[in-house]
């Protein structure tokens, strides 16, 4: 006779086998295995390749978590790429303003300069999120339009601030935010844990799901819709800002032209990870697994197709995205 504990454990395990997260984990392993097998040199087995996947996945992962929270809350944020470019330029300008000749001469900068520049950049990102909320809540603009406006506007503002030039951020300590592989990884782990906790274990998280599921019902239930949207859009903008800072560290410069089209990659990863664009459905864990899946597939193309691989990236990503949305829809209808 089985004990209740064992039965409970079996039920939990069966329940896990039916989740989207399990399916995504399986898909990740299958994709990795297929690419490893098809690549005559088996590059995916190398440490360099693991580092590449980690680096690529970390930046997209942080972005996609922000995109997922907005999608779960029933919105959409199209401004992600422009926020990255804008905040990267702001961060580089702050470093130049505080660092002056030391930065130009490639000398070590005092810690307070790095910290102040990064903190002020993060505050700038939060203000962008607050601005999105203002447009969506106070002016009642559709999120698509509000963030489309900042998609165009913030990149242009970055060009104005930088006078259309690349702003050097060539400081070793600053660049270590990206060049030391475990630093951005640690940031992603922190973001993953914090947001997973927020969405799964707090009242705010449950309210965000409720808001995304049915905004009118959430409003009638007495939820503070404005505050919830502020949390969602500010979190997304803050996480885009974190990536903006990491991106500036990666390039060694603030670049108003950087991260074009990243919003689509972030939304695609969230959707592949199980988020429903109509809101109310999705998880942070699923989104990160969606990120790893896309990262494996997109980077694996170059390993499998040895000639003109870049031509195929968009096609493969498009197929994966369309299949993910189509099958999610099919599953929902069946449920």
């Amino acid at each position: 006779m089985s004990s209740p504990n064992i039965l409970g454990g079996q039920r939990a395990w069966r329940s896990f086998l039916g989740t989207q997260e399990f399916g995504l984990t399986l898909a990740n392993l299958i994709a990795w295995g297929i690419i490893l097998a098809l690549d005559p040199q088996h590059n995916f087995a190398s440490l360099d390749s693991a580092r590449l996947l980690l680096r690529e996945g970390v930046l997209l992962g942080i972005l996609a978590i922000g995109a997922a929270i907005v999608i779960i809350a029933g919105g959409i944020d199209l401004s992600v790429g422009s926020v990255i470019a804008f905040t990267g330029v702001v961060c580089a300008l702050l470093l130049r303003a505080f660092g002056g000749e030391s930065l130009a001469a490639h000398q070590a900068l005092p810690f307070w300069i790095l910290l102040t520049s990064i903190l002020l950049t993060l505050v700038t990102g939060l203000l962008v999120g607050a601005f999105h909320t203002l447009l969506v809540v106070k002016l009642d603009l559709p999120p698509f339009i509000a963030t489309l406006g900042t998609l165009a506007g913030l990149r242009s503002l970055a060009k104005v601030l930088s006078n259309d030039a690349k702003i050097p951020a060539n400081n070793d300590a600053f660049r270590a935010l990206y060049t030391i592989w475990w630093v951005p990884t640690l940031i992603l782990v922190f973001v993953l844990l914090a947001t997973a906790l927020l969405m799964r274990r707090t009242k705010v998280g449950r309210h965000l799901y409720a808001l995304g599921g049915n905004e009118e019902a959430a409003r009638l239930s007495g939820l503070s819709v404005g505050q919830l949207k502020l949390i969602a859009y500010s979190t997304a903008a803050l996480l885009s800002t974190v990536v903006g800072i990491l991106y500036a560290a990666r390039q060694g410069q603030g670049d108003a032209e950087s991260a074009v089209g990243y919003e689509l990659s972030a939304i695609a990863a969230a959707v592949v990870g199980g988020c429903n664009l109509r809101g109310g459905i999705g998880t942070v864990g699923g989104t990160v697994l969606g990120v790893t899946f896309l990262t494996i597939v997109v980077n694996g193309i170059a390993n499998v197709i040895k000639v003109d691989s870049t031509q195929w990236e968009g096609l493969v990503m498009g197929i994966v995205l369309i299949l993910a949305v189509a099958v999610n829809r099919f599953r929902k209808e069946k449920d």
Binding site: N43, R250, Q251, S258
Partner: protein, 342 residues
Amino acid sequence: MNSRKYWIVMACAMLTTLACSTSKGPEPGAGGARPRFVFISNSNSPFWDAVRVGLDNAAKEFNVEVELMRNDGSTGGQIRRLEQVGAQREVKGVMVSVVEPSASGIIDQMKSLRAKGVHVIAVDSDGPMESREAYIGTNNLEAGRNLGKAAAQLLPQGGKVIAFVGIRSAQNAQERVNGFKEGAGAKIQVIDVMEDSSDVNKARRNVAAALQNHRDVKMLVGIWSYNAPAIVDEVKAAGKRSKLKLVTFDAEPNTLLALKDGMLDVTAVQNPYRMAYLGVKVLKAMVDGDQPGVTSVVGENGIKDTGVRLVVPDDSKTVTSEFLVRFSDFKKDLDAKGLTSS
């Protein structure tokens, strides 16, 4: 359909896509022993089509595999491609047309490849010396000077000039503009260098804006290859060809048509085919440890200037230069190599 079936379907679709696409790659069994080289461009334009032909011909001749990765013009894109290449163990040599020599992210990746034993050379647009083993390309300063001298002949009284470029801070852009100013002399004033970030539509908007805002401008200069067709189209649309002298770099297919029709006064043409061909030749010699073979191409200083020609319409009489080539002769040369641009 449960989630496991869903992911199996997705994996099969991906497998099918990859399997189909691999048919474009090298033949099975042919790739293992041959060294693999990658060329990472700085942007994507027809200029790279000639590079492609040069790479393909050299690949056949030297029995190597070569991939052309076309970057989107961004610094981040080039860093990503360098990182990707760094994770491919079979890549033995990399040619890079550096987007920005001041972008430490790009230079770090080039150095990182070299530290792993991958041979790295700069082609077309140079990077700092420590980032590459050799540079093969146009002496852009000299090319700019020659175009500037031609400009001075076209505008003997001098006047205001506006230049158009993808990325102002790119090494080849800076050198071309500076060389042009030197060659053109003091009478010709470059009042603006308008940047389009490798966006062809923006390149056209820049020309239209320049024509509207600077009615006293006498000459337009296209610094990057796609700037030439953008200039020609906008000038034609504004009906200002007779009032403007148009000088450019490179010869995209539409630039050649413009030259044929007399819509351009002169274009300074590089030799991308030769750059690519020599790039593969040098990398093969490096991989084989054939130092005399390397030196025979890039000399002791590791630099090879592939030269420049000034192409003018067949009926042009104003420009004289030792590098002058008439359109018909230039076209014959391209046809002989199977090229549609240069």
